[in-house]
């Protein structure tokens, strides 16, 4: 597998754009219930703190701060775009599907209809050392979602 299949254009773009980044400067919308989770990968020092706000059963906002590799930062950015507006149940389903693909060592293909841009991370599954990079913000989101919902 070539490097370009791992670092898809969409991943490189999101690693720079970092949608949702800037937790400290972002207020949670009024009337929402929030959960916040901090995740650290001790192997590489990747770190994400993610806050998720839920209102009327839907994800109203995701805001995060993080430091890490392009995969981890891009995956937090893609997650932010994808999750906002989803119901709690939908986001759980998407997170479960993403995890299944990432942990499959390339055996399970991503469903682009369900995962949208996150399907671009399918190639990461073939790099065992990078799976946690892609998962870190999703694990944080799952934890925050459980607190908020």
């Amino acid at each position: 597998m070539s490097l370009d299949q791992l670092y898809q254009q969409i991943i490189l773009d999101h690693s720079k754009a970092r949608h949702g980044s800037g937790l400290a400067a972002t207020e949670a919308p009024e009337g929402t219930s929030t959960g916040q989770s901090h995740q650290l990968n001790p192997v590489c020092g990747d770190e994400v703190t993610l806050r998720l706000a839920v209102q009327e059963g839907k994800v109203a906002q995701i805001a995060w701060d993080g430091a890490g590799c392009s995969i981890s930062m891009a995956s937090a950015s893609v997650l932010t775009d994808l999750a906002e507006g989803m119901t709690v149940a939908e986001l759980h389903e998407v997170i479960d599907s993403f995890r299944e693909v990432l942990r499959s060592r390339g055996k399970v293909h991503a469903d682009p209809e369900l995962l949208g841009d996150a399907a671009a991370f399918e190639g990461v599954a073939r790099y065992a050392a990078r799976v946690k990079c892609a998962m870190i913000s999703w694990v944080a989101a799952e934890d925050a979602l459980n607190q908020a919902a």
Partner: protein, 425 residues
């Protein structure tokens, strides 16, 4: 040494002869773990094919043979570091060696508190008010065991800070190491900075204060001539897998008069004289610290590795690797956006260089290099406090050994030069 000799040496290392991602492997991660020459692999295989048995027990032929090669291996390693036979203790690795020491020292306090042992043992016990001194550049293995020893004994852990260029602040060392210092532990060569510390100067400061001096020789024993007596340290540790041997074997050197009085860490079979249901008497070193069945084939393999290094010549290996280290740093410094940790080009360093690539995380750098068949280490290299001190969380490290050519370094440099463009940094 020169490239022609290195190319001959490479023939002894089958693992190096392979393609990775379609390109000939460039292995620049020997600081993490080194590769094994055939003579080492064969030594371990021969042991299992011809002599495998438990050592120091059994009267049968194989047991005698196994014991013989196991203890011959100890003598080989003792000679390799300028130690005496009984001062050379097998461990799993350097980490275990340092933990063994840390627990033996806190056991000294427990023994002394209960009136066990003599005056000399009581002198080794740590108590509140005593100090353990390390440096800011230590690998976690030479930091955390001392943090925990401080915790168990009430002693205080202090550290010698570094300059921005990685060198130890020796005026601070002179101020910090004093009459309260009971243990001074430091690395001979930094696994991140590539710097070689002034061992004699530090040891003199430690001994003048009456402290025990512990040397982490993980990045030095495999790469340069080491003589523990000449350096005058009290203890030294290193790992076999960083010096052409398999994993699971390491060495703790300890000055004889200390090793014979220090309480053991692990207890059990093979390390006792008389055992009753109530208590046990312990053998002197080395058996005192080698409870249970030992890593016999690994010890034999480590001796084969030491022989390989000795035959090649450690002073020659050291000079070659220093040349490769300079080539790395000179090349890295000429690439825009690269910050090399530790001494600048032209200053002494071993054959390794850790660096930051502006705008690109180390993990991405490592992945990019791997796609070109180049193996490096990424992360904090088990030195988080050092990285924090330098304002970084993770770096990329290339580390050379006797089987690396200047072409390896050049391919690495060429690849690093393309990293920022690929990630649009």
């Amino acid at each position: 040494m020169d490239n022609a000799e290195v190319l001959r040496i490479r023939n002894d290392f089958p693992v190096l002869n392979q393609l990775v991602n379609g390109q000939p492997l460039v292995y620049l991660d020997s600081g993490a773990t080194s590769q094994n020459p055939m003579s080492v692999i064969e030594a371990e295989q021969e042991f299992y094919e011809q002599r495998n048995a438990a050592v120091h027990r059994g009267a049968h032929h194989l047991a005698v043979e196994a014991t013989e090669v196991f203890e011959d291996a100890r003598q080989t390693i003792a000679d390799f570091i300028g130690a005496d036979y009984a001062e050379t203790i097998w461990t799993s690795n350097a980490t275990e060696g340092l933990n063994l020491l840390s627990y033996a020292l806190s056991n000294a306090g427990l023994w002394a508190a209960q009136g066990r042992g003599d005056e000399a043992l009581r002198g080794l016990a740590l108590k509140p008010g005593d100090e353990i001194v390390v440096t800011e550049m230590e690998h976690h293995a030479n930091l955390i065991p001392w943090q925990e020893l401080a915790f168990r004994t009430g002693a205080t852990l202090r550290y010698i800070p570094i300059e921005d260029n990685g060198s130890l602040r020796m005026e601070q060392a002179a101020a910090i190491i004093g009459r309260r210092t009971k243990v001074l532990a430091f690395t001979q060569a930094s696994n991140v900075l590539g710097i070689i510390n002034p061992v004699r100067e530090l040891t003199a400061l430690g001994h003048a204060a009456g402290a025990l001096v512990v040397l982490d020789a993980c990045q030095s024993a495999p790469h340069l001539p080491l003589d523990v007596k000449e350096l005058d340290v009290d203890f030294a540790v290193f790992s076999g897998h960083k010096m052409l041997a398999p994993t699971g074997i390491g060495v703790l050197y300890g000055r004889q008069e200390l090793m014979d009085i220090l309480p053991p860490f692990l207890t059990g079979g093979s390390m006792i004289t008389t055992v009753t249901m109530e208590r046990a008497e312990y053998l002197p070193a080395p058996q005192r610290f080698e409870a249970g069945t030992q890593r016999i084939s690994q010890a034999v393999a480590l001796a084969a590795a030491a022989n390989y290094l000795t035959e090649t010549g450690l002073d020659r290996i050291h000079r070659w690797e220093a040349e490769l280290g300079q080539r790395m740093v000179e090349g890295l410094e000429s690439i825009p956006g690269i910050r090399v940790l530790g001494p600048a080009a032209g200053k002494d360093r071993i054959g390794l260089a850790a660096f930051d690539v502006e705008g690109v995380h180390a993990h991405d750098v490592g992945q990019f290099l791997d796609s070109r068949g180049i193996a490096v280490r990424v992360g904090h290299h088990c030195a988080q406090p050092l990285h924090r001190r330098l304002g970084l969380t993770a770096t990329t490290r290339a580390s050379a050994y006797l089987y690396n050519t200047t072409d390896d370094v050049d391919r690495f440099l060429e690849a690093v030069a393309g990293v920022r463009a690929y990630f649009r940094a």
